[in-house]
């Protein structure tokens, strides 16, 4: 086991997402990946893995206004299999 610290997190409006993947490449810590579920419009939307810094890069590049960005008062530590 190892730990990953998240200084921030995001809320994602998956129904508004059109699956363009701009957020995936824009994310500096690379914690966004495309999910396999389809939303009602038939698009894939991103998933968040631990390690978000709350930098808001995803929000800046999202054409569909899907992201709401948060910074934790105290960083959140997630344990993951190494």
């Amino acid at each position: 086991m190892t730990t990953i610290t998240s200084r921030g997190t995001v809320r994602i409006d998956t129904e508004a997402c059109k699956g363009c993947e701009l957020c995936i490449t824009a994310c500096p810590p690379r914690v966004l990946t495309m999910g396999s579920d389809l939303n009602r419009a038939g698009f894939h939307s991103p998933l968040l893995e631990p390690g978000c810094t709350g930098c808001a890069a995803c929000l800046f590049v999202c054409p569909d206004f899907c992201f709401e960005v948060y910074r934790y008062d105290q960083p959140v530590v997630t344990e993951v299999a190494s």
Partner: protein, 288 residues
């Protein structure tokens, strides 16, 4: 790797960025996946909010994909004809000198159909801010060549790429405008990555501030992705923008306080800027 719940508001956290700009009545829109126009629009609308000029702002919009936003932008708007927004903005500004007046046009609108409008408005030094969304294609008709399409760029009617001998050369509109005496602030930004968006937002802010000071004409060109019109995957469009349009339409503040910068100066600034953005992202954010 586990995935986290992103459907609800987290506890023990403060919100640092909204879903939808305050000046949009709804975030829902029907522009294509990966379109850069909503990003540029966000820069503009958030800046109007930040500058606290909401109850004195009037916009004029041309005809393009972004026109779909006219019903959801919570700004007093006048719908103009293709190419004609700068003249309409002129009439508005002359009758309401205290208003903050902006135009929103695409490259087909501004640089093809209405080139003389924006040039004359700049030359007159009208205290309005013209915003150009430049993706090098007519997005709304399906990806046809415009006056800003760069050499080699594939469009529906330059299917093997734009050739100078056959299709002529692109117009670098920002550069052209920066040479006009009446233009006080001219900048060219982009929305191909988060750093570029943050920088573009700053340009819009400086342009609107210049207008409010009464310095003269201000202009922000924003390079935007059009993966549909470029016929490439959405994920590849930011890099395509940077390598193709961005290589010709060089980004940066082309004219500040009446001084025109050289292309070398812009390149130097761009390299420094890129380092700064990388450092800030590594440090945890662009909004600070």
């Amino acid at each position: 790797m586990p995935t986290l719940d992103t459907s609800t508001e987290p506890s023990g956290a403060r919100r640092v960025g909204d879903l939808t700009p305050d000046l949009l009545l709804t975030g829902e829109h029907h522009l294509c996946p990966g379109c850069g126009e909503p990003l540029a629009l966000r820069c503009l609308l958030d800046t109007i909010t930040d500058l606290e000029v909401t109850t004195q702002t009037i916009g004029v919009v041309g005809i393009g994909c972004y026109t779909a936003f006219t019903t959801s932008i919570d700004v007093d708007l006048v719908q103009a004809l293709h190419g004609r927004a700068p003249s309409v903005a002129t009439g508005i500004k002359r009758m309401r000198p205290d208003a903050v007046v902006f135009t929103l046009q695409g490259d087909g609108d501004m640089v093809n159909e209405g080139l003389q409008e924006v040039l004359h408005t700049a030359a007159r030094g009208e205290a309005v801010t013209c915003v150009l969304l430049n993706n090098g294609v007519f997005g709304e008709t399906g990806g046809h060549m415009t006056a800003t399409t760069v050499l080699g760029q594939r469009t529906k009617n330059t299917i093997d790429g734009r050739e100078a001998e056959y299709h002529g050369y692109p117009i670098l509109i920002g550069d052209l405008i920066s040479r006009l005496e009446g233009a006080s602030y001219v900048a060219r930004g982009s929305v191909h990555n988060a750093g570029a968006v943050a920088r573009t937002k700053k340009m819009v802010r400086r342009a609107l501030e210049s207008q409010r000071r009464g310095d003269g004409f201000s202009f922000v060109e924003v390079l935007t992705m059009c993966p549909t019109g470029w016929f490439i995957p959405t994920g590849e469009s930011p890099e395509y923008l940077h390598e193709t349009l961005g290589a010709v339409h060089v980004m940066g503040e082309l004219k500040v306080d009446g001084r025109v910068k050289t292309t070398d100066e812009l390149h130097t600034e761009n390299v420094a800027r890129q380092r700064e953005v990388e450092a800030r992202l590594a440090a945890g954010g662009l909004d600070g």
